[in-house]
């Protein structure tokens, strides 16, 4: 069972109260962008065994979107943070670096 703490209402919500929203920190490439950028934005996703950054929505709760950093292998949740950011905050990265030395996720290490 996956327990993720919603950063907005502070509830340690069980997985069934949440809805996964796929990979986090995607940068949108729209009209006028190159085919490669658009393909990457639309189709290319990370599928790591280990540290992953995801979007989640507290759908049966406060209804807010947020970000979570977790391990896809052990289901350990390193932390959750606001949706209003384009990269993981430093304290979350420090936690992950301490627990998973040498991890790499896209260009974050």
């Amino acid at each position: 069972m996956l327990l993720i703490t919603c950063p907005y209402c502070g509830v340690a919500a069980e997985e069934t109260e949440l809805h996964g929203g796929g990979e986090a920190h995607l940068k949108r490439f729209g009209p006028e962008s190159s085919d490669d950028d658009f393909t990457g934005y639309l189709f290319h996703r990370e599928n790591p065994k280990g540290v992953h950054f995801e979007r989640w929505r507290h759908v049966n709760g406060c209804g807010k979107w947020f970000h979570a950093a977790r391990c896809t292998n052990t289901l350990e949740v390193f932390g959750t943070y606001s949706a209003q950011t384009t990269e993981p905050p430093k304290d979350i990265l420090d936690t992950i670096r301490a627990k998973r030395p040498g991890f790499k996720w896209r260009d974050i290490a």
Partner: protein
């Protein structure tokens, strides 16, 4: 308005807890920054309650406020007063970035009475109902089985559950099944 048409005509069930559909509860949804002084003051003026903190409830007589999310509160009052209060609050917040809607007829409210209510709720919602964690004065917006719901405890043996009116019958059947006399687990009463 004379008679309020209840979703289940005031259905009730007696088992581990007494379940009763409550007659018309006035409900007004407020969306906006709940820490904004103008919004806090307007709610205090119209509903007589201070907006509650995160996951808390505030009651003053028959009016109350429930925390729904960082930018949403559910304001409770008498059914007949809901529209007037909503209009009044909307007028007071005309200049603020806020939205006020009377949603009284969109919901059904059930009251659970009895010492086993923690167990009945715990069977249906992914919420820690232990007396040390969920106390009167707290509100939780979650799901019960397959439908969205919110509940709070008025005192140690009374809780109210709110759900969408369209799923009122499902909710009543669900609560009744969970409160069946022969289904006691006695987890929270030991």
């Amino acid at each position: 308005m004379s008679d309020v048409a209840l979703a289940l005509d005031g259905a009730s069930f007696e088992g581990l807890v007494k379940i009763e559909e409550l007659a018309g509860q006035g409900m007004v949804t407020l969306r906006g920054n709940l820490t904004d002084k103008a919004i806090v003051k307007a709610v205090k003026d119209v509903f007589g309650v201070s907006l509650p903190g995160t996951r808390e409830t505030a009651f003053e007589g028959d009016t109350g406020a429930l925390w729904m999310s960082p930018d949403e509160a559910l304001l409770l009052c008498a059914y007949d007063a809901a529209q007037a209060k909503a209009d009044d609050l909307a007028a007071k917040l005309a200049g603020s970035h806020a939205l006020v809607v009377n949603v009284s007829d969109a919901r059904a409210v059930f009251q659970l009475k009895g010492s086993m209510l923690r167990e009945v709720i715990a069977k249906l919602a992914p919420v820690d109902m232990s007396p040390d964690v969920f106390k009167p004065g707290a509100v939780r917006r979650t799901r019960m089985a397959q439908v969205a719901a919110a509940f709070w405890m008025d005192d140690a043996s009374t809780a109210r559950v709110v759900c969408f009116r369209s799923v009122a019958e499902y909710m009543f059947n669900l609560l009744s099944t969970a409160a069946d006399d022969s289904s006691a687990v006695n987890h929270f009463t030991r």
